[in-house]
């Protein structure tokens, strides 16, 4: 088929073609960026914490009144929790993954360093923390019972060593020599040796803005005992619900002067933490679907109108020997030409929008694959939408040419 007659016809119908072209270009630009954001959010909300989430739950505990024997109370609670038949292990801490609240500190590798080497969250835990969370030790050792100190809000922490995540170890010591090296966290001149490295342990913050510190965690060997603290409990396999129930009853038996403000499984924590990300993905998905539908209907509408406008010409072409498929092909090629131009424009627009968003939002560069996929999608969209009006055009009888308007 020759392009010349199509181009001539388009030139006489400039505005209609431009309207379709601009629509498709914007659709492409929005689609690329929206799908990219959706993918980013879904990927972020699927990040593993490195723990055995299916068996874990967290109890937020707060003591009523001013207690002077907090460490003893924490020890009693932990012992009671560990004694439950449905509980595998437990420890006390100040914060935990997916909680969206915790301590972020600078970590340096030299004493009195001006700028920190990395930022990391600080977790507290005793020698039961690794088995409770199911963390995988990849180098060094776990804490021993003798390493563990009491961390109350009134006591300065002094401790023999720390455990870090592999991500943090690699960030601090890219040459892989982290084990046994000292790092400087709270105090600029007192180094803490790294005694163990775990494969993965997520920081408490789940927002996409905090993605760069997500796997940077430090574990300090403390049994946390404060007015407000948390217990992390691992249930025996498939006994989570029973363990959550029993733990609350048991803790109230041990000491009733408390408020168990929140008792949540990791599944609940994850759902809460990523609710807005999921929401954004859903909304963007709906808008994208509506956008595709509107653009498709727009193409159908305008092409139908063109078909109606050219009934006579189409009849003449048919009378002169053009086959039905030639007529269909005419409209398909016409749409392909328009869509090709919009794909080019839209790809440029998509990249510029993305570059602009990289500056103003927590956003990374759009991968070229998305632009390519978007362009293909828009070309397909055009072809699918044009099919119905094109088939209608093909059904115009050649006799129409002889009948006048």
């Amino acid at each position: 088929m020759q392009l010349h007659p199509i181009l001539t016809a388009l030139r006489r119908n400039k505005v209609g073609a431009i309207v379709i072209c601009v629509q498709m270009a914007i659709t492409l630009a929005i689609l690329c960026n929206a799908l990219f954001i959706i993918e980013q959010r879904l990927a972020s909300s699927a990040r593993p914490t490195g723990t055995v989430e299916a068996e874990l739950f967290a109890i937020d505990n707060e003591w009523v009144g001013a207690a002077t024997d907090l460490p003893a109370r924490a020890r009693a609670d932990i012992a009671a929790l560990r004694s439950l038949p449905d509980v595998a292990d437990a420890y006390s801490t100040a914060s935990y993954p997916l909680e969206n609240g915790g301590w972020l500190q600078g970590v340096a590798i030299k004493p009195n360093q001006d700028d920190e080497t990395a930022q990391a969250t600080t977790y507290f835990g005793d020698e039961h923390m690794l088995p409770t969370l199911g963390l995988k030790l990849v180098a060094g050792r776990n804490f021993n019972a003798v390493d563990i100190g009491e961390h109350t809000s009134n006591e300065a922490p002094v401790y023999p060593g720390i455990i870090v995540t592999r991500a943090l170890a690699d960030k601090l010591f890219p040459d892989g020599s982290a084990l046994g090296r000292s790092v400087y966290i709270e105090s600029p001149d007192r180094g803490m040796p790294i005694v163990g490295i775990v494969d993965r342990l997520a920081a408490p913050w789940t927002r996409i803005e905090a993605a760069d510190v997500y796997e940077n965690s430090v574990i300090e060997p403390f049994r946390y005992a404060d007015k407000a603290g948390s217990y992390m409990v691992r249930a025996k396999p498939h006994r989570l619900a029973a363990a959550m129930q029993a733990a609350q009853v048991k803790l109230d038996e041990v000491n009733g002067a408390r408020v168990l403000s929140k008792v949540r499984s990791f599944a609940q924590l994850r759902a809460t933490a990523y609710r807005d990300d999921r929401g954004l993905a859903i909304i963007l998905g709906v808008v994208c679907a509506a956008l595709v539908a509107v653009t498709a209907f727009g193409i159908v509408g305008l092409t139908s109108y063109w078909v109606a406008q050219r009934r006579r010409q189409i009849g003449i072409r048919r009378a002169l020997g053009a086959t039905r498929s030639a007529i269909v092909r005419y409209f398909q090629i016409e749409n392909l030409l328009i869509a090709g131009v919009s794909a080019g424009l839209g790809a440029g627009l998509a990249v510029s929008i993305n570059l602009w968003m990289v500056q103003g939002f927590a956003m990374t560069r759009l991968s070229p694959g998305y632009v390519l996929a978007g362009a293909v999608l828009v070309l397909l969209l055009g072809q699918v939408s044009v099919l119905w009006p094109a088939l209608r055009a093909a059904s115009i009888a050649p006799a129409l040419a002889t009948r006048g308007a």
Binding site: E62, G65, A228, R275, D276
Partner: protein, 438 residues
Amino acid sequence: MFSHYLLLALRSLKRNVLLTALMIAAIGVGIGASMTTLTVFRAMGADPIPQKSAELYAVQIDNWGPGKRAHPSSDNLESMLSYIDAVGLVNARAAQRQTAMYVTGMALTPAGSQLKPFMVRARATYTDFFPMFDVPFRYGSAWPAADDAAHADVVVITRKLNNKLFGGIDSVGKTLNLDDRAYRIVGVLDSWNLLPRFYDIQGRGAKFSEGEDLYVPFTRAIDGAMRGLGGMRCKEEVSGWEGILRSECIWTAFWVELPDAAAVDRYRRFLSGYASEQRRSGRFHWPAHTQLRDVRQWLAYQHVVSDEVRILVLVSFSFLFVCLMNAAGLMLAKIVGRAAEIGVRRALGANRGAIFVQCLIEAGVIGLAGGLAGLALTALGLAGLRSVLSESMVDLTRTDLLDVVIAVVLAIVATVLAGLYPTWRATQVQPAWALKSQ
């Protein structure tokens, strides 16, 4: 004339129901999507206290100096103050009203009832807080300034807590057991909820989440070593409550009320003077670096409108644009198809202006219908938002009359704008040609 054109428009729209429905649907969907996000955007960025937003100022003091920051900010200032500065500024009383504050948690043990002890969010503040932020009282009043000085065991509770504990009766004078200590209720608030909660700077979620349950004197909270819930940021190691109070850790908010420009100027000078004084005394080793921001500036500075909502507004307005392009294309198709009819009207004496007005009215009718369809879709969209977003965002999905007006006006104006080119094309119809081709 107008009603005649309106009739013509309706008749013309009826002639091609499918095309008309397509146009109305396109505009309706576009308006629905953009109004849904705009509603949330407006609620997030709204001025929560318009009558006083220009008189209330957040205070910032650089007590960390140049150098490393955990969360670098554009101006190297932090949003919170240290206890030292909070108390220093309160005691200076350099503004008409001022308050330092932070949020803490307390365990409330209900007296003689079946209710188990539960946690309450308490705001530790000074009595100036209540008149500063126009807080309405249902019963009683704020505690007297003397109670601030006396570190008294008094509380003001919210209407919600009063309903929960006392069934809504006047509970002034009763006592509350908070963390094993008796507090006397001096006031019960009426319903009061400022959104965004600009005075609460701790944490992103806090700006829209549920507020506090009760208020205690700041001085009492400090005596009780009540820790802040909103997080504390430190540059050095600290231990114990006394250590925190002596440290440069930042964890309190500080607001002042300054009624006019002269007062603002005076307070700015006072703040610089205060910071310079700290330098002279050896506490700061850098030139005075302080800032005052009123409510609107503060909201912008704190980026209250979340990235998610900005993205959604952008996407939905681009979507609206596509919908309008769509409607314009369809209108064009329609008008060109009516060239013959327009030719007849022109030949019978209608001038270009008349054709122009008639087509625009037709566009306006489509816009109105699209706007109404859009309103219904907005309600649907907001219901959808409520089901997928977290509770802290739900309060932002209420529509007001202005939203409705915006939706309808936006739909009509946008559709008429989209109809301008097709309309112009209609006026270009040459009567002779149009008639000849019949």
